[in-house]
């Protein structure tokens, strides 16, 4: 389905991805986690062809995506920030995306699910942030495609909409789709994710199930495990790069 080999990307001097190898060959929900700036969004955008990699290959449905655009027919994407042309109405935007993709869509049930019926004839500039995010969700879920990529899907949603979105994501998984997801809300990961891909400083630090991660990090829940991994990671780095600091750390550990 998605095969990434030795993916590297720098923005100026900032090396964001330092050789990512990732194979996702089965269905399910994959949560891509990591601290801020670890390269989550860059991986997602590379898969979508929004970011041009410096090195490495991405193969999607057996096709290399470099200089290719047709493959995006199989991918639905929910971007992080929802901003649309201001003067268009919601209905027109939905029709536009349908027209661009030229494929059947089931937007009506989603519009009802997120109670957007009253907003359909409003201009997008008059919508609140949460309503825009709902429109964003409708746009990315209304097509039946095998791969779904969600970048922070729950941002700005009220609890009711959030619960409905989670149900929707689980429903899509049941249909046999591959879903990639990034989020900072750990409860979402605990509820939804089948597998976790943990990024640290541009590399994959861990990949496996939630239980494996908790076991390995010895945290009582995901939040603690991740905090532990991050602390350990920083400690290791401090020991390698800075002997004075590491001595202090050891001292602190001994007398803590």
């Amino acid at each position: 389905m998605i095969n990434i080999k030795n993916l590297k990307k720098s923005f100026g001097k900032n090396e964001v991805l330092k050789g990512i190898d990732l194979d996702i060959n089965n269905n399910g929900i994959f949560a891509i986690l990591g601290p801020n700036g670890s390269g989550k969004t860059t991986i997602i955008k590379s898969i979508l062809g929004l970011v041009v990699p410096d090195e490495g290959d991405i193969v999607l449905q057996q096709k290399n995506i470099a200089r290719n655009w047709k493959y995006r027919e199989y991918v639905n994407y929910l971007p992080q920030i929802a901003r649309f042309p201001e003067n268009l109405k919601v209905r027109e935007l939905i029709d536009m995306v349908k027209d661009l993709r030229n494929s059947p869509a089931h937007e009506q049930e989603l519009i009802e699910l997120f109670e957007l019926n009253t907003s359909l004839d409003k201009s997008l500039k008059n919508l609140s942030g949460g309503t825009r995010q709902k429109v964003n969700v409708v746009l990315s879920f209304m097509f039946d495609n095998p791969i779904l990529i969600l970048d922070e899907p729950t941002v700005g949603l009220d609890p009711v909409a959030m619960i409905r979105l989670k149900k929707l994501i689980l429903k899509e998984r049941k249909k046999g789709k591959t879903i990639l997801l990034t989020t900072h809300i750990m409860s979402v990961v605990e509820e939804l994710a089948d597998e976790i891909v943990f990024l640290l400083e541009g590399k994959i630090h861990f990949r496996g199930s939630l239980e494996e991660l908790n076991q390995r990090a010895q945290g009582k829940n995901l939040e603690h495990s991740i905090a532990k991994i991050l602390e350990n990671g920083m400690e290791q780095e401090a020991q390698i790069t800075d002997p004075v600091n590491s001595r202090q750390l050891n001292f602190q550990q001994r007398y803590a």
């Binding site: 971007p79 649309f84 201001e86």
Partner: protein, 260 residues
Amino acid sequence: MLKIFKYSFFDLIRSRWIYAYFSFYLITAISLLYISNDLNRAILSLMNIVIILSPLIGTMFGVMYYYNSREFVELLLAQPVKRTAIFLGQYLGLTVSFSLSFGLGLGLPFLFNGILGSEEIGNFLILLLNGTLLTFIFTAIAFLISLLNENKIKGFGLAIIIWLFFAVIYDGLFLLSLVIFEDYPLDSFALIASIFNPIDLSRIFMMLQLDISALLGYTGAVFNKFLGTNMGIVVALISSLLWVFIPVKGFLHYSLKKDF
């Protein structure tokens, strides 16, 4: 590409700016026609406005539109659509809607003043053509600038500088070089120098068409002397088209390499 063009066009023709632009030209044309009561003079006065204002509006709106639609472009880029189609579609949406509001704003008052039956129809059409060409040229430059600069402030600053350079500074530098090198034959230098400034080209184009030698200026006179009126018009037109083509090619090429 046509789909993107269609949607950005319909988005834009509902924006206030387009109406403001339309009203500005409408009011200016009406007042100039009323004051001068002469089609030819009104065309001449409008030309002076058009060759400064069209580039300014083209650059400013090009940059503004690009930065405003940044996130929307991201959404489009995630659809199965070619990158070049997205940017070309948006570019055409912007240029066509602005050219239309420019054309209608000037066209309606002239239509009511009987431009169709008069001898000035040719001159008027050339004025419209020039305004449109300048819009296409400077919007393309604006797209190129904003694609190259992630930073909005930098993009806007650069766009203003480029406009100022072609509209004002270029002429100053040109005159300065004429004074400094007055002992040398400068005809071919002047000819080439004017080709490198789209605003100058447009002015020469108009002046050759209107056949006003007093207002041709030095570069215009050189154009006239070396190429004759007709050949001069052809060269000015081809160079202007190149001025559209090269920046468009540039921003399309760069769009393929850019990260979003």
